[in-house]
Symmetry: C2
Subunit: 150 residues, 2 copies
DNA sequence: TCATATTATTGTATAATATTCAGATATTTA
DNA sequence: TAAATATCTGAATATTATACAATAATATGA
């Protein structure tokens, strides 16, 4: 058998979706062409960045969710953006923020389990020479990406 | 003129999108019917929870992003889930986690500006009798919902 | 092991949906 | 207030998803 599922998940996690114009038209009781026009405008103006799927992350081996506060190395302290952009390549990192407070970066990380989390952290701490990383583990994800849990 | 934009944003923020089967088929070089079958399976098994849009939140009056750690009231300490589910109704709250550490809840909040943030916080602190709330403001959102910033 | 049931793949036909286009209407600009 | 620009919308068309049926692969269990 072809194992298409992981490829689908990877594509749908970031994009490869599209708005349901006729469903929206029905819901808002407006002509489909009007909805179409307005959505294209939002796309043209880059108000909409992407259309994507939201998963039950436990079911795609990404059920272990952790927030990580990071102090970057003293050399990188002045421009954490560079590291942030490199971290953005990792598909296990859901979000990256430059933030106020005692740390420069706040990461949201999804891994299969705490073991995978541990190895990812060791990897990125070594690679980017973080001076400190402090973790908060999510025990229950009630809402994610504006979508409520089942 | 009809001002459809805010209604579109509200709908697309949580759903009203669908996968682009033929595009995925082209990308993965598989028959469209095979992709269709596999995606329907993911939906049937509730692996996929929703299809939605990701926005440039600055452009939809939601550019002020804050992470808020919450201590709930002593009465609610044993079951923060109840409050979490009520908070989930607010469209300005992107995510809600029950978490480890010094706080019970971690919220991700998107408002137009710090004024709207302030009034929202006053509202929910009063409503749910939080005993403490500690905020970290996002200065730069490099990646959100698995999608990189422009 | 081998028969049987279940699940997965895929081409063809059809249904549903998005998109184009052109004309009308509203709004902005100068 | 006239001209330019942006928005709305119905009708025609193009694209895409879906239903179906045949086939193939895998799992089940005596």
């Amino acid at each position: 058998m072809k194992n298409i599922e992981p490829k689908l998940v990877e594509l749908l996690k970031q994009g490869y979706c599209t708005p349901q114009i006729s469903q929206i038209a029905k819901k808002l009781k407006e002509p489909g062409t009007t909805i179409h026009y307005n959505i294209k405008k939002l796309e043209r103006d880059k108000v909409i960045r992407s259309y994507k799927a939201v998963f039950d992350y436990k079911k795609i081996d990404a059920g272990h969710c952790t927030y990580v506060f990071v102090n970057v190395s003293s050399e990188d302290y002045g421009s954490p953006e560079k590291i942030a952009h490199e971290l953005a390549n990792d598909p296990r990192i859901e979000s990256i923020d430059i933030c106020t407070g005692d740390y420069e970066l706040l990461l949201k990380i999804r891994t299969k389990d705490i073991d995978e989390y541990y190895s990812l952290m060791k990897e990125i701490i070594a690679k980017f020479k973080f001076s400190k990383a402090s973790s908060i583990i999510s025990l229950n994800q009630v809402k994610s990406e504006f979508v409520r849990a089942a």
